[in-house]
């Protein structure tokens, strides 16, 4: 009886006591995340397009319609889409191949795994110089970096202008991003593979299924939640790409993306209204990717 009483009592204190301890964080997130997003939206709907404007007026969606006609914006947007497609496809494929090579267990697995994940620990501001060298655009005599390696492998025909040419710039920029994130995708897929009960494999084997068929019909379908997770994670990271571009090529037109353009518009041109509008576009793209995912995670947690 005394147990029941203390439980009921605990229930009441928990309801209020718990809330009280989380309250400071709730207030902080309410102000600094949601309040400030609302404030950014407010700026994006105003005419505060220079620091000289002291009493900004509401101008509706003028800043957003202005973006559509802004060649630099559409260029940066197009660049971001190109980058995203190559980055997601490349990272997904290379991470998945790494997982396939490792999932059955192999001597030295720990070493491979640790090295594959190493790039995640270094900032792109630091790796920028390295990639700048590796993606040196010189062909033939005096080639350096990857072009030099290709020449030595007798694959000179593959030499590229990398990010110096408008045709290949964003595809080249995806390369360091793939380099950094593949290990992460490997880890997610490895966890996915190893979460599949061994019985499933065994049962298929007993039924006489070939290894290839086991992968195709038994294992791969089990990985679809992992696949979704990977897509969402890579998608939202891609929308925000910033350090990588700044680190390797700086604020150049040829590799411009939304986050870099937003920085320039806000910082160098002090056009806050336009900067805020670009920020809202990035936020919208991230929200489209992330909100359905949060709902999915929320729902699937209820079953646990």
């Amino acid at each position: 009886m005394s147990k029941g009483k203390s439980k009921a009592h605990g229930g009441i204190t928990s309801r209020w006591g718990g809330f009280f301890f989380v309250l400071p964080s709730i207030i902080a997130v309410a102000i600094f995340v949601y309040g400030m997003i609302a404030w950014t939206l407010n700026i994006s709907l105003s005419n505060k397009n220079s620091s000289a404007v002291h009493n900004p007026k509401f101008v509706g969606i003028a800043n957003f319609t202005g973006l559509i006609h802004d060649e630099r914006f559409t260029h940066a947007f197009g660049n971001l889409i190109k980058f995203t497609v190559v980055f997601i496809a490349g990272t997904l494929i290379s991470g998945f191949i790494m997982a396939l090579l490792l999932e059955k267990g192999i001597k030295g697995e720990g070493v491979f795994r640790s090295v594959y994940l190493y790039p995640m620990a270094i900032s792109f501001i630091a790796m920028g110089t390295v990639w700048n060298w590796l993606m040196n655009s010189t062909h033939g005599e005096g080639a350096a970096g990857i072009n030099l390696i290709l020449a030595k492998l007798h694959l000179s025909f593959l030499q590229s202008d990398w990010y110096v040419s408008p045709k290949s710039s964003m595809y080249a920029m995806a390369l360091p991003a793939i380099w950094q994130m593949s290990g992460y995708v490997l880890a997610l897929f490895l966890a996915g593979f190893r979460g599949i009960p061994d019985d499933l494999r065994e049962a298929a084997r007993v039924d006489g299924a070939s290894e290839a068929k086991i992968y195709r019909y038994v294992l791969f379908p089990q990985l679809s939640p992992t696949f979704l997770t990977v897509l969402i994670i890579l998608g939202h990271i891609s929308m925000k790409v910033f350090d990588l571009i700044i680190g390797i090529s700086g604020k150049t037109y040829i590799t411009d993306v939304l986050a870099v353009y937003m920085w320039q518009v806000t910082f160098d041109f002090t056009n806050y209204a336009k900067g805020a509008a670009i920020a809202m576009v990035i936020l919208l793209m991230v929200a489209i990717v992330v909100i359905p995912y949060l709902r999915y995670v929320n729902k699937s947690e209820e079953y646990n």
Binding site: G18, V29, L117, A126, L134, A144, R194, D243, M262
Partner: protein, 297 residues
Amino acid sequence: MSSDIVDRITAHVPSHGGSNKKLTGVAQFWLVFRYISLFIILAMIILPIYVLVINSFKGPTVYLPDALNLPKHWTLSTWPAAWAALGVPMMRTLFFVVQSSIISAIIGSINGYVLAKWRFRGSKMVFTLFLFGMFIPYQAIMIPLVQFNRAVGLTGSIYVLVLAHVVYGIPICTLIFRNYYAAIPDEIIEAGRVDGASMVRIYRSIMLPLSIPGFVVVLIWQFTSAWNDFLFAIFLTGGSPSLAVATTALNFITGGMQINYGVNMTASFMASIPTLLVYMFLGRYFLRGLLSGSLKG
């Protein structure tokens, strides 16, 4: 089968290579094929890091086509110049990163404890709203944040970065601790309650002593992300040299027009040493922080 994502990855899977079983010809072929592929990938991953390290020991002049070769004469001659430019910013970074990581870990631990064990009405909604804050592009809050700092008189102080990393670290730190505490059996809490311990008492005497690994994960995560952060640093310090941190100072060095290859590379390597060391020695904890961002395994 462990449900913990990191345990699952690092679980010991019996390898074919080490067993005494005689392998069939086909199995042998696949094993060799796997090793060759793994080593080729290993070489591709290491290449940029190799370039970073070796070119820091070649002196000031590096001829680009030689960038892939080992130094002919190993020298530290570029290190004093790199340190002269980066030393103070790196120390400043260390100063604020330590503070922001500790504060973040304490806040995350309290939130995680409540959201895992003392749910209140709407706590799930609160958690989901927190999580969204983890994914937002910080550009969407940056202009108001700069205005806020100016309004409260924080501009020009390194505490703009402490504030930013603590506040925007709340979602991930809460998530890591919530998942960590959720794995601790409810019976422990029940037992504490039966003995008449309050929520705070249970936290202090039962949960906190069990939380050391959780704290290590969060501290390492916050340390690495704040150390490597460039976006907040460049926006909130306005690029002011008196507030330069590791990444902004490095970007100033390498982004400048004068091309001093050797010093640039040394500075890049120098700025990465702290996070490289953290990863080398505490990689497992780093991995856990990294994977918590995926929400589900």
